[in-house]
Amino acid sequence: MTAKAAEMQREVRENAEDYQNYLKDLYSWESEIKVKDELLKKASQSPNIVGEQEFPIRNRKTTQTLNETPCTNSPSFQNSGILTDHQNKQKAALEKNKGNEYFKEEKYEQAIEYYSKAMELDPSDAILPANRAIALIKVKRFVEAEEDCNRSLKLDPSFVKAYHRRGTARYNTGKVEQALDDFKKVLSIEPHNKAALQEFERLSKSSKDSPKSGVTEKSKESNSKKRVSFDQPLTNKSRKAAEIEPIKMAAEIIDLSLKHPSLAFVNEIVPFPNNVKIEPSVQIPIAAVNDSKQESLGIEKILNQFSCGKNIEIKNVEIQSAKTVDVIPSPPKNYIQFQQDWTRLEKSSDFQYKYLKQINPTKLPDLFRESLETDILGGILKILKKEFFERKEAILPWLTGLSQVKRISAVTLFLSSDQKSDLEYLLTHIQSNSEGSEEERKMVFQKLK
């Protein structure tokens, strides 16, 4: 018994000793490791982090990933002649990023230099010659730009941007047909590419004489401030033509959802809807371009301001164009289209009537779905009353169609008293004229009352 007790005592004592030893050890370790910890923390804050991992991301063939991730450091590679292919690609990416930086700062010559360096390091990357091409375009070296685009396309025949840039370059060297071909190619790969659509429209319509150097393409990778520069400053042309061109340029840059680019006769300015972040002051000079060159140059200036820094916003905002009101828009495919067209035609009830006529009344529920707004409904009722009635045309099909629109009763609730009285009028009218069958009229009454 005592032996056991003694043993237990011994164990307890040894445990206690172990514990104390461990603690002492721990404390000294703690101080050491804290020093190391602080060093590491400091190291992580300094800019020269050992960043780049040498190993590629799984499944990635090239170091294309380096294109996207910002380069936070530039590890100093030793310039030995035995740099591996991989390291070369990394170096190329660094040079490319530098080039991109300069491009953004509009220092195109330097950007070109860096892109050239990158191209030497990585001759297999199709992006690099394309980047150099756009930089060359910026400094109007169109022939070289086209060559670079050719290089890029040799490396990657499906590189859309290269086609786009080659189109621009070609156009500016007078190879209009070939430029159009390139844009066609872009559109065949990316049918929804707005910038390309614009370019294509413009090129196919514009005059075949002196090439313009307006840079209207929007390069997606650079958020650079774009300047619209008029290379041939309007001296060669007639004043009228001169006026037309800047207007065209203006309108094209402004209007991206343009469907009818016939902008030659801007007589009215249709006010921009409220969701556009453009100062209203921009509109005025455009309208006033009828006279002196001064004014047109005025536009040039405003455009410079205007397009600076707002490129991206413009891109993403759907704006109403300064459109002529001579043309009735085609029948709408959805409610938004209808609403836009309808509000545009507000000035002329005749046009609204014509527009409405294009639509099949039975298709109204489908067109409006659940988006019909009270104002629009009010407008339609007004037109129905005014124009249809005057021309003694059937109103019932329209009312039937409207009555079948979802939640129409909710919409009618909010009609103003004028609009309500219009509706009443229409309802009594169809009753008195005995349009359609009793059944139909009853349904309409039910829904719209």
Partner: protein, 354 residues
Amino acid sequence: MTNSRILILNEKSVNFTLFCVKWIPCSARLAVLGSHPKGTGVWQIYSLSKGQLELLTEVEKPFAMKCGTFAASSFENRLMATGDFNGNLNLWDLEKPNSAVYSASAHTSIINDIDGVGGINVGKGAAELATCSRDGCVKIWDARQKDRPVAILEPEEGQTRHDCWTVAFGGAYSSSDRLLAAGFDNGDLKIFDLKTMKVQWETNVGNGICSIEFDRKDIEQNKLTVCTLDSRIFVFDLTTKHPNKGYAFARQKAHKSTVWSGTHLPQNRDVFMTTGGNGSLCLWQYEYPSKRSAKATDGSPEGVAGNLKMIHEVGVAEQPITSFNWNADKLGLAASTSFDQTLRILAITKLNCL
């Protein structure tokens, strides 16, 4: 001379459910992850000084955090990768906790476990993270690729999806070799060879697998420790594969409850600690057999399992101990968390004698 013993250095109570504890590499700090009762996530950073825990920072996040690891970060940045209850994977810089360095909607359901390789000098090749989730998928991420995983391992269409409860990297002894082991709730164990992107081996251990770990991440496959429900521990010897029987394993019962985790000592690959649902800790040592492979009856070689020797067992809590982490810089220093909202700092003595 006494044996190794598990001693409790310090205990700290917190007011939220703790799920995971990890030492911050090359420091005397540790991070605990968990969730508040209201469902928001929280992590706390403690510093160990003179054996006492000091709270350095506490950060709250919208979703409860389930698991975390530093294993894919470099020593310089020591970013913490976390998986939360909402299926999001985030990489955090602990100095700037307001916005994640990397963020991805990794899974549609809770991320059960996360593991990393290639960072903090463990494992060769690119630094990658693996997450597994209740949605049955295992996804591999590289912080350089945004939003999308670099690999997805999921059951085929039509097959039943089992919760994947745990993942572990291993076999990263060269820049192209890598293995990933995954354990599922029905006892499925799969080892994927990431070089060939194929299942290298699979088996079923009969009970849901709570924890799985290769004894080392950066060597050719050697041993794999599997902890399951129903108080079982398996250690597979991965050096010899029999064409039919697969790998040999040693099996033990311990803790009289679910074995929640099994973690190998960073300084000795044959020593590991298991934690149990009854609040106990068990220190084991694997003893190799004299010959690790032998000829089976059918002529082909098969592995011979060793045996597991329990070195010390101690009960430290009344509730399951769900997470345990050895400190890689100090031999014997460890931290554990349990469902009784307590963080415990442990010292395991005499490990250098094993």
